[in-house]
């Protein structure tokens, strides 16, 4: 880890990141909308292949953090870098998976088009068909097990089928960082496992760092390395065991929170946000 000249504040110290130099680095990061401070003095390093879950109630700035990393939202103070470079819009090594949304059944878009747009949709021009492009799209569709509905209209696919395509769309550009904004929301349990399994496989095989916004940690609990828990301007970073306990969450929420572990699932009681 490179030494920063800035003095780390005791309250926001993070555990020493793994040996490799971090893919994502925030130092003294602050995001505020007018007088409302979402988070401040945030220091965060995410190592290659690390799976970081972003948790917290609505409006705590989880999605805003992703927007900062996508270059869509400037920080109010501090620095943010990906691979040591300041973030910018359309960074080629950053993949993005949105939450599932209902699509119009007559939308003129097939699964392979959705994935293809992830590959070169940002480029100008008409984009003439090429064998290499076609092969790359099919390769990724195979990798997520979505090849057999590659030609189906995306609006006719189930939420889970759509999210498989979303994973393929994000992976087709071969990203080093994968930003996931509640990709499991509104999926049934089986598909939650499929989609989180695909993301987990990617970071293990390609050492892609994953920042995963979620309401509920349970579907990804087995694969999460660290948690960044944001509540009302306060936050805590650590392993799930370090953060997801009664003492830490009670401190964060400033009220009595109970956390119990039942058969490998975490039940959080008393938080303003629902946790199953």
């Amino acid at each position: 880890m490179t030494v920063t000249t800035r003095t780390d504040q005791a309250s926001t110290r993070i555990p020493t990141p793994r040996a490799a130099s971090p893919v994502v680095r925030l130092r003294g990061a602050r995001l505020a909308y007018g007088p409302r401070v979402l988070w401040d003095s945030l220091d965060l390093d995410v190592a290659p292949g690390e799976f970081l879950a972003l948790l917290g109630p609505n409006g705590s700035g989880k999605t805003s953090l992703l927007r900062v990393l996508l270059g869509l939202q400037p920080l109010s103070a501090g620095t943010v870098a990906i691979h040591g470079q300041p973030v910018r819009r359309g960074h080629r090594t950053v993949g993005y998976i949105p939450q599932q949304r209902a699509l119009d059944p007559t939308l003129t878009l097939r699964g392979r088009d959705l994935v293809g747009l992830g590959l070169d949709g940002h480029r100008w021009g008409f984009g003439l068909p090429s064998a290499r492009r076609r092969a790359r799209v099919l390769e990724v569709l195979d990798a997520v097990g979505a090849r057999h509905y590659a030609n189906a209209p995306v609006g006719l696919l189930s939420g889970g089928e759509q999210q498989r395509l979303r994973v393929a769309q994000a992976l087709v550009g071969d990203p080093d960082v994968l930003l996931c904004d509640e990709p499991l929301l509104s999926l049934d349990l089986a598909y939650q496992q499929v989609v989180s399994g695909l993301i987990d496989a990617r970071r293990r095989t390609a050492r892609t760092a994953v920042l995963f916004v979620t309401h509920d940690i349970n579907p990804v609990l087995p694969v999460v390395d660290r948690v960044l828990y944001l509540v009302d301007g306060r936050f805590r970073i650590g392993t799930p065991d370090e953060v997801m306990n009664s003492a830490t969450l009670s401190q964060l929420y400033g009220t009595d929170i109970g956390v119990i572990k039942v058969r490998g699932r975490l039940l959080v009681m008393g938080a303003s946000e629902e946790h199953s």
Binding site: L70, G71, L72, R88, R89, G90, H91, V94, Y96, P98, D104, P105, T106, L107, T108, L109, R110, D113, L114, L117, G118, D120, G121, H122, R123, W124, G125, F126, G127, G145, N151, A152, P153, V154, G155, L156, S158, G160, E161, R166, Q169, L179, A190, Y191, Q193, V194, G197
Partner: protein, 294 residues
């Protein structure tokens, strides 16, 4: 008049061939073909972006631009129509960026624009009906110069569209991810509004406000029913628009009837046919999904 006589009046081709030899008829056909080309290319994106109402508003507000231009000089009416359409499309594009308030923005701007147009007409000292009749479509009045102007504009619109096609499609069908991938979604939205404004501003004086919807929306909506391939949709929409316009003009020649009824009827028949063909495909939307393979 009996039903048979009505049919006979509406559907006759006696003399059509002779009429097709005439210069002004041929110019009308070329103008119609050029407009269908632009409309077919822009239509699928209009439908995907769900901005049909904005196109309708834009086509009506060409009237305001034309009426304002009339106050300056009666020779500027078509320029005014074009400017009015582009300004209206930009207003819809900029004010209605949020999907939720798009409808109400269009309603508010449209009402104000039409009211303004009415005032401009009242201010005009001469008889305005002749000059403004071109808003209802004067395709047989298209001059050779008009055809050249149309051809130039069509080439410009198609060229710009080809240059921005991929990011524009991305932004139109998948805005959130496009934004995350660095596509200038907002800027493209404004550019698309200008393209639609130009297409509408050119089309309204030629084929009338009514036919703008029939060219920009009906063919694309029909294509979306039978294909999910964006490029096939583009080609089909263009084909449908050409069939409707050219078929409509030819069918209207011998009866000497206004073309709008024929063009809209052909377009609507194509739309109904595609809906029927696509019905089975869309029924799948409600099918139960098989459990995912883990």
């Amino acid at each position: 008049m009996s039903f048979g006589e009505i049919l006979h009046r509406l559907f006759t081709f006696r003399g059509s061939w002779q009429l097709l030899q005439l210069d002004f008829v041929q110019q009308a056909l070329i103008a119609g073909a050029l407009l269908a080309l632009i409309a077919g290319a822009l239509g699928p994106l209009v439908v995907a972006r769900q901005v049909s109402f904005a196109v309708h508003g834009t086509s009506e507000l060409t009237f305001t631009g034309a009426a304002a231009a009339l106050l300056v000089s009666s020779s500027l009416v078509s320029v005014g129509a074009l400017v009015g359409a582009v300004v209206a499309a930009l207003a819809f594009g900029l004010l209605g960026l949020r999907e939720r308030e798009r409808d109400s923005v269009i309603g508010a701007v449209l009402a104000f624009g039409l009211g303004l147009g009415g005032l401009f007409l009242w201010l005009y000292p001469g008889r305005s009906s002749n000059q403004l009749s071109l808003l209802f479509g004067q395709i047989v009045g298209v001059s050779r110069n008009d055809v050249w102007l149309l051809a130039g504009c069509a080439a410009g619109v198609l060229l710009v569209l080809a240059m921005v096609w991929r990011p524009l499609l991305f932004a139109s069908v998948d805005a959130d991810v496009a934004r995350a991938r660095g596509v200038p979604v907002r800027g493209l939205s404004v550019l698309f509004a200008v393209l639609v404004g130009v297409a509408t501003g050119l089309a309204v004086p030629t084929v009338g406000a009514l036919l703008v919807l029939s060219l920009l929306i009906t063919p694309a909506a029909a294509a979306a029913r039978v294909t999910a391939n964006p490029v096939t949709a583009l080609l089909l929409a263009t084909l449908f628009a050409e069939v409707a316009v050219l078929g409509g003009i030819v069918a209207s020649l011998a009866p000497g009837a206004p073309i709008s009824g024929y063009v809209t009827a052909i377009g609507f028949m194509i739309y109904l046919t595609c809906r029927a063909l696509g019905a089975a495909r869309l029924r799948r939307a409600g099918r139960p999904h098989p459990a995912p393979a883990a």
